[in-house]
Protein backbone atom coordinates (compact mmCIF):
# COMPACT_ATOMS: atom_id res chain seq x y z
CA UNK A 1 0.00 0.00 0.00
CA UNK A 2 1.10 3.56 -0.49
CA UNK A 3 -0.40 7.01 0.01
CA UNK A 4 -1.86 8.90 -2.92
CA UNK A 5 -0.15 12.18 -3.71
CA UNK A 6 -2.93 14.52 -2.62
CA UNK A 7 -1.80 17.96 -1.37
CA UNK A 8 -3.90 17.84 1.80
CA UNK A 9 -2.79 15.00 4.09
CA UNK A 10 -6.35 14.65 5.29
CA UNK A 11 -7.26 13.52 1.79
CA UNK A 12 -4.54 10.89 1.67
CA UNK A 13 -5.98 7.47 0.99
CA UNK A 14 -4.41 4.06 0.86
CA UNK A 15 -4.07 3.11 -2.78
CA UNK A 16 -2.85 -0.37 -3.65
CA UNK A 17 0.24 -0.44 -5.84
CA UNK A 18 -0.50 -1.68 -9.31
CA UNK A 19 1.47 -4.63 -10.63
CA UNK A 20 1.27 -5.54 -14.30
CA UNK A 21 1.54 -9.30 -14.84
CA UNK A 22 2.51 -10.24 -18.39
CA UNK A 23 2.14 -13.96 -19.05
CA UNK A 24 0.61 -15.81 -22.00
CA UNK A 25 -0.88 -18.38 -19.62
CA UNK A 26 -4.14 -17.10 -18.05
CA UNK A 27 -3.77 -19.71 -15.29
CA UNK A 28 -0.40 -18.26 -14.29
CA UNK A 29 -1.77 -14.71 -14.39
CA UNK A 30 -4.69 -15.74 -12.19
CA UNK A 31 -2.37 -17.50 -9.78
CA UNK A 32 -0.04 -14.51 -9.38
CA UNK A 33 -3.05 -12.24 -8.98
CA UNK A 34 -4.31 -14.55 -6.24
CA UNK A 35 -0.96 -14.38 -4.46
CA UNK A 36 -0.60 -10.58 -4.70
CA UNK A 37 -4.11 -9.43 -3.90
CA UNK A 38 -4.16 -10.56 -0.25
CA UNK A 39 -0.91 -8.62 0.22
CA UNK A 40 -2.59 -5.35 -0.77
CA UNK A 41 -1.36 -5.12 -4.36
CA UNK A 42 -3.53 -4.34 -7.35
CA UNK A 43 -2.54 -6.91 -9.94
CA UNK A 44 -3.48 -6.39 -13.56
CA UNK A 45 -3.07 -9.25 -16.03
CA UNK A 46 -2.00 -9.11 -19.66
CA UNK A 47 -1.65 -12.19 -21.84
CA UNK A 48 -0.51 -10.50 -25.06
CA UNK A 49 3.15 -9.40 -24.82
CA UNK A 50 2.77 -7.23 -27.94
CA UNK A 51 0.49 -4.88 -26.01
CA UNK A 52 2.76 -4.22 -23.03
CA UNK A 53 3.48 -0.56 -23.85
CA UNK A 54 -0.21 0.09 -24.40
CA UNK A 55 -1.08 -1.55 -21.08
CA UNK A 56 1.58 0.46 -19.24
CA UNK A 57 0.23 3.71 -20.68
CA UNK A 58 -3.26 2.87 -19.54
CA UNK A 59 -2.56 1.19 -16.23
CA UNK A 60 0.59 3.04 -15.07
CA UNK A 61 1.88 0.12 -12.98
CA UNK A 62 4.52 0.45 -10.24
CA UNK A 63 6.05 -2.88 -11.20
CA UNK A 64 5.98 -5.31 -14.10
CA UNK A 65 6.15 -9.09 -13.66
CA UNK A 66 7.20 -10.45 -17.02
CA UNK A 67 7.21 -14.04 -18.27
CA UNK A 68 9.97 -14.91 -20.76
CA UNK A 69 8.74 -17.75 -22.98
CA UNK A 70 5.78 -16.22 -24.79
CA UNK A 71 4.60 -16.42 -28.40
CA UNK A 72 5.22 -13.46 -30.67
CA UNK A 73 7.48 -11.48 -28.38
CA UNK A 74 9.55 -13.01 -25.62
CA UNK A 75 10.16 -11.49 -22.21
CA UNK A 76 13.80 -10.66 -22.94
CA UNK A 77 12.74 -8.64 -25.99
CA UNK A 78 9.98 -6.86 -24.06
CA UNK A 79 12.35 -6.02 -21.20
CA UNK A 80 15.08 -4.76 -23.54
CA UNK A 81 12.65 -2.54 -25.42
CA UNK A 82 11.09 -1.14 -22.25
CA UNK A 83 14.49 -0.32 -20.81
CA UNK A 84 15.51 1.43 -24.03
CA UNK A 85 12.39 3.58 -23.94
CA UNK A 86 12.67 6.68 -21.70
CA UNK A 87 8.90 6.64 -21.14
CA UNK A 88 8.99 3.25 -19.49
CA UNK A 89 12.51 2.57 -18.30
CA UNK A 90 11.90 3.79 -14.74
CA UNK A 91 9.39 1.01 -14.07
CA UNK A 92 11.07 -1.98 -12.41
CA UNK A 93 10.77 -5.23 -14.32
CA UNK A 94 10.98 -8.64 -12.68
CA UNK A 95 11.35 -11.60 -15.01
CA UNK A 96 9.21 -14.49 -13.77
CA UNK A 97 10.22 -17.49 -15.80
CA UNK A 98 10.82 -21.22 -15.95
CA UNK A 99 14.18 -20.56 -17.59
CA UNK A 100 16.38 -21.33 -14.63
CA UNK A 101 19.97 -21.58 -15.80
CA UNK A 102 22.72 -19.17 -14.79
CA UNK A 103 23.06 -18.05 -18.41
CA UNK A 104 19.32 -17.24 -18.61
CA UNK A 105 19.62 -15.19 -15.42
CA UNK A 106 22.70 -13.40 -16.79
CA UNK A 107 20.94 -12.70 -20.09
CA UNK A 108 17.96 -11.29 -18.19
CA UNK A 109 20.29 -8.94 -16.33
CA UNK A 110 21.85 -7.88 -19.64
CA UNK A 111 18.40 -6.90 -20.91
CA UNK A 112 18.01 -4.57 -17.95
CA UNK A 113 15.73 -6.68 -15.72
CA UNK A 114 15.68 -5.50 -12.11
CA UNK A 115 14.79 -8.91 -10.66
CA UNK A 116 14.55 -12.56 -11.61
CA UNK A 117 12.20 -15.16 -10.14
CA UNK A 118 12.31 -18.71 -11.43
CA UNK A 119 9.24 -20.88 -11.79
CA UNK A 120 8.10 -22.74 -9.84
CA UNK A 121 8.30 -20.21 -7.04
CA UNK A 122 6.86 -20.24 -3.56
CA UNK A 123 4.58 -17.46 -2.41
CA UNK A 124 7.37 -16.13 -0.20
CA UNK A 125 9.88 -16.02 -3.06
CA UNK A 126 7.50 -14.06 -5.25
CA UNK A 127 6.52 -11.62 -2.50
CA UNK A 128 10.14 -11.06 -1.48
CA UNK A 129 10.98 -10.04 -5.07
CA UNK A 130 7.89 -7.85 -5.42
CA UNK A 131 8.45 -6.07 -2.08
CA UNK A 132 11.88 -4.95 -3.21
CA UNK A 133 10.26 -2.64 -5.74
CA UNK A 134 6.67 -2.02 -4.66
Amino acid sequence: MHFSAAENPAEWTLVPKKVLIVDDSPAQVKLIQGLLEPEGYWPVGLSDPKRVEEAITVERPSLILLDVVMPGRNGFQVCRELKENVRFNAIPVILVTSKDTASDRYWGQQQGADGYVTKPFTREELLRAVRRFA
Binding site: A27, L35, V69, S98, D100, A102, T118, K119, P120, R123
Partner: protein, 227 residues
Amino acid sequence: MRSTSVLILTDDGEFARTLTACWQVERQLPGISVLTGDHWNNGAEVAPDLLVIGPLKEGALGETLRNLANSTAIILCAPAEAKELGLLRKRYPRLLHVPLREDWTQVVLLVAGESLRRTEALRLARLAEQRAAQNANQATLGRYMMEMKHNMNNAMTSLLGNAELLLLEPGELSAQSLAQIKTIHTMALRINEIMQRFSSIASEMREVETPSQAETIDDEATLFPRR
Protein backbone atom coordinates in the same frame (compact mmCIF):
# COMPACT_ATOMS: atom_id res chain seq x y z
CA MET B 1 45.56 -60.25 -24.19
CA ARG B 2 44.20 -62.65 -21.58
CA SER B 3 40.67 -62.19 -22.87
CA THR B 4 41.47 -63.92 -26.18
CA SER B 5 41.57 -67.67 -26.66
CA VAL B 6 43.66 -69.97 -28.81
CA LEU B 7 42.91 -73.60 -29.51
CA ILE B 8 45.75 -75.84 -30.67
CA LEU B 9 44.34 -78.79 -32.54
CA THR B 10 46.86 -81.53 -33.26
CA ASP B 11 47.55 -85.20 -32.89
CA ASP B 12 51.26 -84.42 -32.53
CA GLY B 13 52.07 -83.93 -28.83
CA GLU B 14 55.48 -82.46 -29.59
CA PHE B 15 53.94 -79.77 -31.83
CA ALA B 16 51.57 -78.67 -29.03
CA ARG B 17 54.33 -78.72 -26.38
CA THR B 18 56.79 -76.69 -28.49
CA LEU B 19 54.22 -74.06 -29.44
CA THR B 20 52.85 -73.71 -25.90
CA ALA B 21 56.37 -73.41 -24.47
CA CYS B 22 57.26 -70.67 -26.96
CA TRP B 23 54.03 -68.82 -26.23
CA GLN B 24 54.66 -68.88 -22.51
CA VAL B 25 57.79 -66.78 -22.80
CA GLU B 26 55.86 -64.10 -24.69
CA ARG B 27 54.80 -60.95 -22.85
CA GLN B 28 51.15 -61.34 -23.78
CA LEU B 29 49.73 -64.79 -23.36
CA PRO B 30 46.25 -65.75 -24.59
CA GLY B 31 44.15 -68.49 -23.00
CA ILE B 32 45.50 -71.69 -24.64
CA SER B 33 43.68 -75.02 -24.96
CA VAL B 34 44.99 -78.14 -26.66
CA LEU B 35 42.83 -80.80 -28.29
CA THR B 36 43.57 -83.90 -30.29
CA GLY B 37 41.60 -84.73 -33.43
CA ASP B 38 39.71 -87.47 -31.55
CA HIS B 39 38.32 -85.00 -29.03
CA TRP B 40 37.58 -82.29 -31.54
CA ASN B 41 33.97 -83.38 -32.17
CA ASN B 42 33.80 -81.36 -35.40
CA GLY B 43 34.31 -78.10 -33.54
CA ALA B 44 30.72 -78.16 -32.29
CA GLU B 45 31.51 -77.07 -28.74
CA VAL B 46 34.37 -74.64 -29.22
CA ALA B 47 34.60 -71.10 -30.54
CA PRO B 48 38.20 -69.95 -30.13
CA ASP B 49 39.43 -66.56 -31.35
CA LEU B 50 42.18 -68.41 -33.17
CA LEU B 51 42.57 -72.04 -34.21
CA VAL B 52 46.10 -73.33 -34.72
CA ILE B 53 46.05 -76.66 -36.54
CA GLY B 54 49.12 -78.85 -36.24
CA PRO B 55 49.77 -82.25 -37.78
CA LEU B 56 46.69 -84.48 -37.66
CA LYS B 57 46.09 -88.13 -38.54
CA GLU B 58 46.27 -88.68 -42.26
CA GLY B 59 43.20 -87.52 -44.18
CA ALA B 60 41.61 -86.01 -41.10
CA LEU B 61 42.09 -82.32 -42.04
CA GLY B 62 39.08 -81.84 -44.38
CA GLU B 63 36.78 -83.75 -42.05
CA THR B 64 38.04 -81.80 -39.04
CA LEU B 65 37.22 -78.40 -40.50
CA ARG B 66 33.84 -79.38 -41.92
CA ASN B 67 31.61 -77.77 -39.26
CA LEU B 68 33.81 -74.80 -38.48
CA ALA B 69 32.41 -71.28 -38.99
CA ASN B 70 33.82 -69.52 -42.09
CA SER B 71 34.86 -66.49 -40.08
CA THR B 72 37.20 -68.46 -37.79
CA ALA B 73 40.83 -67.35 -37.87
CA ILE B 74 42.97 -70.39 -38.65
CA ILE B 75 46.71 -70.94 -38.79
CA LEU B 76 47.38 -74.18 -40.52
CA CYS B 77 50.75 -75.71 -39.68
CA ALA B 78 49.94 -79.17 -41.00
CA PRO B 79 51.23 -80.33 -44.34
CA ALA B 80 48.56 -79.98 -47.03
CA GLU B 81 48.40 -80.50 -50.77
CA ALA B 82 48.17 -77.39 -52.91
CA LYS B 83 44.70 -78.31 -54.16
CA GLU B 84 43.35 -79.00 -50.70
CA LEU B 85 44.94 -75.79 -49.42
CA GLY B 86 43.32 -73.79 -52.23
CA LEU B 87 39.90 -75.20 -51.34
CA LEU B 88 40.42 -74.48 -47.65
CA ARG B 89 41.51 -70.89 -48.35
CA LYS B 90 38.40 -70.37 -50.47
CA ARG B 91 36.19 -71.61 -47.66
CA TYR B 92 38.04 -69.91 -44.81
CA PRO B 93 39.23 -66.48 -45.95
CA ARG B 94 41.09 -66.02 -42.65
CA LEU B 95 43.16 -69.21 -43.05
CA LEU B 96 46.92 -68.83 -43.24
CA HIS B 97 49.32 -71.65 -44.02
CA VAL B 98 52.62 -71.74 -42.14
CA PRO B 99 54.87 -74.54 -43.39
CA LEU B 100 56.73 -76.43 -40.68
CA ARG B 101 60.16 -75.04 -41.40
CA GLU B 102 62.91 -74.25 -38.92
CA ASP B 103 61.42 -70.95 -37.69
CA TRP B 104 57.74 -71.99 -37.77
CA THR B 105 57.13 -71.17 -34.09
CA GLN B 106 58.27 -67.55 -34.56
CA VAL B 107 56.07 -67.17 -37.62
CA VAL B 108 53.05 -68.68 -35.84
CA LEU B 109 53.52 -66.44 -32.79
CA LEU B 110 53.87 -63.36 -34.96
CA VAL B 111 50.81 -64.12 -37.07
CA ALA B 112 48.80 -65.28 -34.04
CA GLY B 113 49.69 -62.07 -32.17
CA GLU B 114 48.39 -59.94 -35.03
CA SER B 115 45.28 -62.06 -35.43
CA LEU B 116 44.46 -61.86 -31.71
CA ARG B 117 45.10 -58.13 -31.65
CA ARG B 118 42.62 -57.80 -34.51
CA THR B 119 40.08 -59.91 -32.61
CA GLU B 120 40.56 -57.79 -29.51
CA ALA B 121 40.27 -54.56 -31.51
CA LEU B 122 37.05 -55.81 -33.12
CA ARG B 123 35.66 -56.76 -29.71
CA LEU B 124 36.49 -53.30 -28.34
CA ALA B 125 34.99 -51.64 -31.41
CA ARG B 126 31.77 -53.62 -31.00
CA LEU B 127 31.68 -52.72 -27.31
CA ALA B 128 32.25 -49.06 -28.14
CA GLU B 129 29.43 -49.21 -30.71
CA GLN B 130 27.08 -50.69 -28.12
CA ARG B 131 28.04 -48.05 -25.58
CA ALA B 132 27.65 -45.30 -28.16
CA ALA B 133 24.15 -46.59 -28.98
CA GLN B 134 23.30 -46.69 -25.27
CA ASN B 135 24.66 -43.18 -24.80
CA ALA B 136 22.65 -41.95 -27.77
CA ASN B 137 19.48 -43.37 -26.21
CA GLN B 138 20.25 -41.74 -22.90
CA ALA B 139 21.10 -38.46 -24.62
CA THR B 140 17.68 -38.53 -26.33
CA LEU B 141 16.02 -39.01 -22.97
CA GLY B 142 18.11 -36.21 -21.47
CA ARG B 143 17.26 -33.84 -24.31
CA TYR B 144 13.58 -34.68 -23.92
CA MET B 145 13.80 -33.92 -20.20
CA MET B 146 15.53 -30.61 -20.90
CA GLU B 147 12.89 -29.68 -23.47
CA MET B 148 10.09 -30.61 -21.10
CA LYS B 149 11.61 -28.73 -18.16
CA HIS B 150 9.92 -25.48 -19.14
CA ASN B 151 6.46 -27.11 -19.25
CA MET B 152 7.19 -28.98 -16.06
CA ASN B 153 8.19 -25.77 -14.26
CA ASN B 154 5.05 -24.00 -15.43
CA ALA B 155 2.87 -26.86 -14.26
CA MET B 156 4.70 -26.92 -10.94
CA THR B 157 4.12 -23.18 -10.51
CA SER B 158 0.36 -23.71 -10.75
CA LEU B 159 0.48 -26.71 -8.44
CA LEU B 160 2.55 -25.00 -5.78
CA GLY B 161 0.86 -21.61 -6.06
CA ASN B 162 -2.70 -22.91 -5.95
CA ALA B 163 -1.90 -25.16 -3.01
CA GLU B 164 -0.42 -22.16 -1.21
CA LEU B 165 -3.48 -20.06 -1.99
CA LEU B 166 -5.78 -22.75 -0.60
CA LEU B 167 -3.67 -23.03 2.53
CA LEU B 168 -3.68 -19.27 2.90
CA GLU B 169 -7.44 -18.95 2.63
CA PRO B 170 -8.87 -22.31 3.62
CA GLY B 171 -12.47 -21.01 3.82
CA GLU B 172 -14.69 -23.89 4.82
CA LEU B 173 -12.25 -26.64 3.95
CA SER B 174 -12.21 -29.52 6.42
CA ALA B 175 -9.12 -30.38 8.43
CA GLN B 176 -8.70 -33.51 6.33
CA SER B 177 -8.82 -31.50 3.07
CA LEU B 178 -6.30 -29.05 4.47
CA ALA B 179 -3.98 -31.91 5.41
CA GLN B 180 -4.31 -33.30 1.89
CA ILE B 181 -3.53 -29.92 0.34
CA LYS B 182 -0.52 -29.63 2.66
CA THR B 183 0.66 -33.02 1.38
CA ILE B 184 0.20 -31.87 -2.25
CA HIS B 185 2.20 -28.74 -1.44
CA THR B 186 5.02 -30.71 0.25
CA MET B 187 5.22 -33.19 -2.63
CA ALA B 188 5.22 -30.37 -5.18
CA LEU B 189 8.16 -28.82 -3.33
CA ARG B 190 9.95 -32.17 -3.39
CA ILE B 191 9.40 -32.53 -7.17
CA ASN B 192 10.71 -29.00 -7.53
CA GLU B 193 13.89 -29.98 -5.63
CA ILE B 194 14.33 -33.01 -7.90
CA MET B 195 13.94 -30.83 -10.99
CA GLN B 196 16.44 -28.31 -9.63
CA ARG B 197 18.93 -31.10 -8.98
CA PHE B 198 18.38 -32.27 -12.55
CA SER B 199 19.06 -28.73 -13.80
CA SER B 200 22.23 -28.44 -11.75
CA ILE B 201 23.48 -31.81 -13.05
CA ALA B 202 22.74 -30.66 -16.61
CA SER B 203 24.67 -27.42 -16.15
CA GLU B 204 27.54 -29.25 -14.41
CA MET B 205 27.71 -31.65 -17.37
CA ARG B 206 27.90 -28.74 -19.77
CA GLU B 207 30.82 -27.30 -17.79
CA VAL B 208 32.59 -30.66 -17.65
CA GLU B 209 32.01 -31.42 -21.32
CA THR B 210 34.32 -28.71 -22.60
CA PRO B 211 37.53 -29.82 -20.82
CA SER B 212 36.54 -33.45 -21.37
CA GLN B 213 36.21 -32.88 -25.11
CA ALA B 214 39.49 -30.95 -25.16
CA GLU B 215 41.22 -33.88 -23.43
CA THR B 216 39.69 -36.37 -25.85
CA ILE B 217 40.95 -34.32 -28.76
CA ASP B 218 44.41 -34.34 -27.14
CA ASP B 219 44.24 -38.12 -26.76
CA GLU B 220 43.28 -38.52 -30.40
CA ALA B 221 46.19 -36.32 -31.40
CA THR B 222 48.54 -38.57 -29.40
CA LEU B 223 47.09 -41.76 -30.82
CA PHE B 224 46.82 -40.56 -34.39
CA PRO B 225 49.52 -37.93 -34.87
CA ARG B 226 49.20 -35.79 -37.98
CA ARG B 227 52.04 -36.24 -40.35
